[in-house]
């Protein structure tokens, strides 16, 4: 779209936010996004106008009033002009007031969830997001139905994180010791990036996940399938799913690669050297102990930083993870 058509759209009050995001914005996929995009573009074109005015006048003056042979001296002009100065104070004041009121109004809408919202609990911790659904299912991705208001109630296990979905134009700091709240209503089926926007240490830039927006009925089908996977899938496959969903994969690789924690490739059934120099065989009991009391037997060469999963993983889940580890040869 050319600049003039855009400006005309703007003047007509009919700026349609571009669902692809256009040059400046990411894809728009929530009811809140177009409201933010319209204001963004209003400020943008206002800024372009004032910038062109200032820089245009500056360039014009430099060209016209350049000191050159035959034009050594300035021409007389007043040192101040009350009418001009009042004008360039009052007009910007009125314009910023418009931006202020508009921004506040959209902000309130972005912060006021409808009463019938579907609630998901969000936990941020170094360096993963976990989503707990009303039925108790925990997932590493945020699955939601389309066209449904979703309310997020968020807590942090350690430092400050910030839950950010660019496609929804929402962001909220997740401060330890407080509940942070956010809401959105997705308008397009698809997968959207989630970032952590508040710096939280080594893995900050890898603390991403996805929002998966399902078509009508799709969310319910997905939930029925995943809610019971422990009983339906073979234990090793269920273990693999837990391994990814519960954040184990954030620190442990399964291909022998280096990470925060030791790789789990070829560990099960073999001897492991501990930080205190002793050696232990990695059997079911060792795996179970390492999950529930991670600091009890730390592998040599690694920091004792793993959090306990006591109360977070059920026995059946721990068994499944141990079964999965057996397959990592």
């Amino acid at each position: 779209m050319s600049l003039t058509t855009r400006l005309l759209d703007l003047l007509a009050g009919g700026v349609q936010s571009n669902p692809d995001g256009g040059f400046w914005m990411p894809e728009a996929a929530s009811t809140g996004a177009p409201a933010v995009d319209n204001l963004f573009h209003f400020i943008l074109w206002l800024s372009v106008f004032f910038f062109a005015l200032i820089v245009g006048l500056m360039v014009l003056f430099v060209v016209r009033y350049r000191r050159r042979a035959g034009r050594e001296e300035p021409e007389p002009s007043p040192n101040h002009n009350v009418a001009l100065e009042v004008t360039w104070t009052v007009i910007p004041l009125l314009l910023v007031f418009v931006i202020f009121v508009w921004g506040f109004k959209v902000f309130l809408d972005l912060n006021t969830p409808p009463a019938n919202s579907y609630e998901v609990l969000v936990t941020g911790q170094k360096w993963k997001w976990l989503f707990t659904y009303p039925n108790g299912h925990v997932d590493e991705n945020l699955h939601v139905p389309i066209d449904t208001p979703i309310r997020l109630v968020m807590t942090s296990e350690d430092v400050i994180h910030s839950f950010y979905v660019p496609a929804f134009r929402i962001k909220r700091d997740v401060v330890p010791g407080r509940y942070a709240k956010a809401w959105f209503r997705a308008t397009k089926v698809g997968e959207y990036q989630v970032f952590c926007a508040e710096y939280c240490g080594t893995g900050h830039s890898d603390m991403g996940t996805h929002v998966v927006v399902h078509e009508p009925g799709g969310f319910e089908r997905w939930m029925t399938e995943v809610a019971d996977f422990l009983n339906k899938l073979p234990p090793a496959e269920a273990g693999e799913r837990l391994f990814k969903a519960r954040g184990c994969a954030q620190c442990h690789t399964v291909d022998g690669g280096a990470s925060v924690g030791p790789t789990l490739k070829g560990v099960f059934g073999h001897a492991v050297t501990l930080a205190d120099g002793k050696s232990v065989t990695a059997d079911e009991d060792y795996v179970r102990e390492s999950i529930l009391e991670p600091q009890a037997k730390v592998v040599a060469g690694f920091q004792p930083v793993m959090p306990t999963y006591k109360g977070k993983l059920k026995d059946q889940e721990i068994t499944a993870i141990a079964e999965y580890m057996k397959t990592l040869k």
Binding site: Y65, E85, I160, S162, R178, A197, D206
Partner: protein, 560 residues
């Protein structure tokens, strides 16, 4: 130079051959224990430029690492330490003392026609506080480089195992250095103005320094207390900010920004002062709207204390607080806009000289224009939610602080360079470097606006491939800028040895510092000068025999 004799210097006003502040006393001790504001200013200048070099090296390393989304030249932890060091060094060691303590120290007493600042010993103490603070801050690199970001947000900063205490203790001492300078300048401006200089006869650079000094004295103690509380929490385990100990991390953010937002104006106000001086001198025009510019400096200083909450729109503060801070933020934009309009109006019907300092003025108006206007996006609550903590903020901040303050600092450095070194730099190279820095800067940071509004969060070591093109443009731009700065360093250093001797008034400024020799004598002025209108530029005319400007009334005498 000695063979040229004193006769030449009487005509041009160059004092390299005779007695000046640089050769008035000799030896290392005469510098280390000097109470001369010009020497202290020069020591500050050398020190902050060394800090700028160090901070710049970290920046270029980061940009190089970000060329690829996945392949890196450093580890994630090293990257985190580098952006922390880049920020902390640039903010606390370079840009806060940059214009006031280095250029301001050299120029302020000269502009007032005074022999020195009000408290010369306090001035030297300020410098050594800076040195001590710098040592503590940089010691942290050896003890375990801090990885918190320059904002030291809790509870990350109270739980990380890096040497946060050394770094914050360093920043605490640096705060004293800043307070001493501010206090000194307030008293100097109140008490040492010359005959004929009422408040509205002060050069606007002095107004800028005055506004800055007020903020330095009133806001810096809050930072000191905050960092002290952080140290107490870390070392003694007293719960103030850490929720695990019963504290509140958002309280830290309030305390931190209560200083650090006004601090942004500590950085920009003196820069605006430099622009007010140079735009007028190089347009050969009286400044337009003197009183409006002077009052807007004070308005900015006052309102800047009330806007800190706009750093916390997504922190969970109440909607009411968000609304009030957003409103006040828009209010503080107005005085800055007024200044910009006045500067452009000053150029109207002038006789504009496009020397290096004027190129920096134009560069400033372009870049600070973008920096200021993009602040409107961030001040607007709903839009800020999307842009907060993305590269958009990084770009906005650099357009204001680098495109504004650093560019004005460079303009001021070139403008006053002949005065305090007694030498002219190479004008052709000066213009080439100014253009390179301008082009490189825009490539580096404009691309960051786009990736930021597209969602790229800041302080990321890895990123999604869709952002790579913007990162690559940004990195190439930073290399161009780096080349520009190398050129500046080379021709400035070279000018110290081979530069043409500078006349007393090479640009035709009407402020008092141009009425003494270049470089000035130890006591600044042979006779206490009397101040007139600091922007009465038409009282001066170019004199080819002098190679500089002379007062029209004195011209006959000087040529004769």
């Amino acid at each position: 130079m000695a063979d040229k004799g004193t006769a030449a210097s009487l005509v041009t006003g160059n004092a390299l051959a005779g007695d000046n502040y640089l050769n008035h006393t000799k030896g290392l001790r005469s510098w280390l224990f000097t109470l001369d504001h010009k020497r202290i200013g020069v020591m500050y200048l050398v020190s902050i430029l060394a800090s700028f070099l160090l901070g710049g090296i970290f920046a270029l390393l980061m940009r190089t690492s970000l060329l690829s989304p996945t392949k890196h030249i450093v580890s994630a932890d090293t990257y985190n330490q580098m952006f922390t060091l880049h920020g902390a060094i640039m903010i606390f060691l370079f840009i806060i003392p940059g214009i006031p303590a280095a250029l301001g120290n050299i120029v302020l007493p000269l502009m007032l026609g005074a022999k020195d600042v009000a408290f010369p010993r306090l001035n030297l103490a300020s410098y050594y506080c800076w040195v001590a603070g710098a040592i503590f801050s940089l010691l942290s690199i050896v003890l375990g480089a801090v990885d918190t970001g320059w904002t030291f947000y809790t509870p990350y900063s109270t739980t990380t195992n890096t040497s946060v205490v050394a770094m914050t203790f360093g920043a605490l001492i640096l705060g004293f250095s800043s307070i001493f300078t501010g206090l000194n300048f307030i008293v100097t401006i109140h008490k040492l103005r010359p005959k004929g200089m009422g408040w509205f006869r002060m050069p606007l650079f002095v107004w800028g320094l005055y506004g800055t000094a007020i903020i330095q004295v009133l806001a810096t103690p809050v930072l000191g207390i905050t960092l002290l509380l952080l140290i107490v929490e870390r070392t003694l385990g007293v719960g103030i900010f850490d929720p695990a100990l019963g504290g509140d991390p958002v309280l830290y953010q309030h305390f931190f920004w209560f200083y650090s937002h006004p601090a942004v104006y500590i950085m920009i106000l003196p820069a605006m002062g430099v622009i007010s001086e140079t735009v007028s001198v190089f347009s050969r025009k009286h400044i337009f709207g003197y009183k409006a510019i002077a009052f807007s400096s004070i308005a900015i200083a006052a309102i800047s204390f009330l806007v800190w909450g706009h750093h916390m729109f997504v922190s969970g503060q109440s909607n009411l607080a968000g609304m009030i801070f957003s409103f006040l933020t828009f209010l503080v934009a107005i005085p800055s806009a007024i200044k910009v309009f006045n500067w452009v109006a000053t150029m109207y019907k002038g006789a504009i000289r496009l020397d290096t300092p004027m190129l920096y003025v134009m560069s400033f108006l372009f870049l600070f224009g973008i920096g200021g206007l993009t602040g409107l996006f961030l001040g607007s609550l709903a839009v800020d939610v999307h842009l907060h903590d993305t590269y958009f903020v990084v770009a906005h901040f650099h357009y204001v602080m680098f495109g504004g303050t650093v560019i004005a600092f460079l303009g001021g450095l070139h403008y006053w360079w002949p005065k305090f070194t007694g030498r002219m730099y190479d004008e052709a190279w000066g213009r080439i470097a100014a253009v390179l820095v301008f082009v490189g800067f825009n490539a580096t940071f404009f691309s960051q606006f786009v990736m930021g509004s597209k969602g790229m969060p800041r302080r990321y070591y890895n990123y999604l491939p869709e952002y790579q093109i913007y990162h690559q443009i940004s990195t190439i731009g930073s290399f161009v800028m780096g080349i520009g700065f190398i050129i500046i360093a080379v021709y400035l250093i070279r000018s110290l040895i081979a530069g043409k001797p500078a006349p007393a008034n090479p640009w035709g400024g009407a402020t008092l510092e141009w009425q003494t020799t270049s470089p000035p004598p130890h006591d600044n002025f042979a006779l206490s000068p009397e101040a007139g209108d600091p922007y009465d530029l038409e009282a001066f005319r170019w004199d080819a025999a002098v190679g500089g400007y002379v007062k029209k009334s004195d011209a006959a005498v000087a040529v004769g």
